[in-house]
Amino acid sequence: MILISFDIDGTLTVGDPPGILPMDMVRAVKEQGCLVGSCSDRPISAQRAIWASHDIEVDFTVSKHMLPDVKAEFEADVYYHIGDREDLDRRPALEAGFEFLWPHEAADMPWVEGPDA
């Protein structure tokens, strides 16, 4: 099982500023059976609204400092956090025991296209 946490602003195309990862990518990852959610400085209610407006059912929506809570709650073989900031994404992700990917690295990951890709 793969768990993937997405930052929003600067990471997803719906972010402010927009990032490079489209919502279709998140949808595709979800359809591959990954656990998916967002970890962002957006209000949690706003994160839920974004996912709902794109008809994507996510497994978690948490504030930026709550990656350890995600890891404690979900059983997975590998945990990824994808974000655009060294101080607010990469460093805390590594401290929480997540693998970290910049958005351009995430776009090249095999699970974007499915397990057979």
């Binding site: 402010d16 500023p17 400085d41 209000p43 949690i44 209610s45 706003a46 504030s63 930026k64 400092h65």
Partner: protein, 439 residues
């Protein structure tokens, strides 16, 4: 050459009696620019350009011939924490779009009165310019005094903000290896900007037995009000509420101050048109009379004011506000004191004794109906938390509420007759009392 307003223009002391121009100066026109999170590098969105939009909208709103305007009061500094990177070229396509001054960053990273006048040829009658530095709270005090003193008859007041990509407060001198004086302790080796307020708030909670969660209704109310402010950033771009759950789940910036206790830096400009009460009668909008302006020049004993110093000074400020306006706390229809950081709003309103409040009671008050529809509205503008970092939403809101044109944000639980706004910090703020009538 435009100068900062002299100290004599501010009402800093207790015992000055009624303001000599009480009810004889009025705000009439309001103009706001569009907002943006950050400058996108285009000429038409630079801080100079959006200032021209705000000024022209204020003139239009008041229904005044631009040639009739004879005064301009503004703040030449357009940021507190977004600095033009050293060595970065000034974009020629931007400077070539305007009539420039000797400062190549004028209109991009700052704003002089000279730049405004070079780019608003319709302002042919200006013979008075002055700076009220820091924020709109300061500039409107200067404009009110200038009109009252006869230095100008019809005066524009302007405050603008720029913001660039990158983190606020992280560039400029703060990115260097040394700073002079106590700034080194704050900015170089120190703490997030909200740290001083967080310290005061921590002591407040200890002293009065309160806690951070009790701020949640205030934050929720502020954002709800801000989402009814169409000129604001959140209403325009990201209509997101902050629920109590959202607030309590946010990360700490300087515990006990979290992310949503801080405001969001943006690009924005606002302008007002001030004039004499007599001239205001013939303008397009209903006059909002200035009953008083007041100032705090108190300096803390050390790097950050203690809670005791804050409480003493907000009480002193309130006495000055009421004395000069000839009112009491009971006369206030609503309050619009500053909130950027959210955690000092309660210091301001406790000092005012708003609705009979005493020190240590504001957070309990926040648990009651503080909405625009109740009898005790708190910050109907939504302030910086509700609209983005500008330090002027509260003034615009006072004018619009009293003019009965605040739209969805209009207070309904009270009749908007007398209001107070001002800031920024509890120590060192500038404050204005607004009224529907001149007496």
């Amino acid at each position: 050459m435009t100068e900062n307003a002299p100290a004599s223009m501010y009402r800093t002391d207790e015992g000055m009696g009624l303001w000599e121009h009480r009810g004889k100066v009025a705000a009439v026109g309001v103009g706001h620019s569009p907002t943006a999170r950050r400058w996108d590098g285009r000429a038409e969105t630079c801080v100079g350009a959006i200032s021209l939009i705000a000024l022209r909208r204020a003139i239009e709103d008041a229904g005044v011939d631009p040639a009739e305007i004879d005064g301009l009061v503004m703040d030449p500094v357009t940021t507190t924490g977004a600095y033009w990177p050293k060595g970065k070229p000034v974009p020629e396509e931007v400077t070539s779009a305007f009539n420039c001054t000797d400062n190549p960053l004028d209109g991009i990273a700052g704003l002089s009165a000279e730049w405004i006048l070079k780019n608003m040829p319709e302002l042919t009658g200006i013979d008075f310019t002055m700076y009220g530095p820091g924020c709109m709270s300061n500039a409107i005090c200067v404009a009110a005094q200038a009109v009252g003193d006869g230095l100008a008859n019809t005066c524009l007041v302007l405050k603008s903000w720029h913001n660039y990509e990158g983190r606020y407060y992280q560039g400029g001198a703060n990115a260097g290896s040394d700073l002079p004086g106590t700034a080194a302790l704050h900015a170089l080796w120190g703490t997030p900007a909200c740290y001083g307020t967080a310290l005061q708030f921590a002591e407040y909670c200890r002293k009065y037995g309160k806690n951070h969660d009790m701020m949640a209704p205030f934050i929720e109310n502020s954002r709800q009000n801000g989402l009814k402010f169409p000129e604001g950033y959140w209403a325009s771009h990201r209509p997101e509420e902050i629920t109590p759950e959202d607030y309590k789940a946010a990360r700490w910036i300087a515990k006990p101050a979290n992310l949503f206790d801080n405001d969001l830096p943006i690009m924005v400009s606002a302008a007002y048109l001030y004039t004499t009460a007599e001239r205001a009668r013939d303008m397009r909008q209903k006059p909002v009379y200035i009953l008083n302006h007041a100032a705090s020049n108190t300096r803390p004993r050390s790097l950050t004011p203690t809670l005791d110093e804050v409480e003493a000074d907000t009480a002193r400020t309130a006495r000055k506000i009421y004395e000069g306006a000839g009112i009491t706390a009971a006369d206030l229809s609503f309050e619009n004191m500053y909130d950027g950081f959210a955690q000092f709003h309660q210091f301001h309103i406790e000092g005012l004794g708003y609705r009979g409040m005493k020190f240590g009671e504001a957070l309990d008050f926040y648990q009651t109906d503080i909405s625009i529809h109740g009898p005790n509205p708190i910050l109907p503008s939504g302030g910086n938390i509700g609209c983005g970092r500008s330090r002027f939403w509260m003034h615009t809101d006072c004018i619009q509420q009293i003019q009965q044109r605040a739209g969805e944000r209009q207070v309904t639980g009270v009749k908007p007759e007398v209001a107070v706004s001002g800031g920024p910090m509890p120590l060192g703020g500038r404050f204005t009392v607004w009224s529907a009538t001149p007496d």
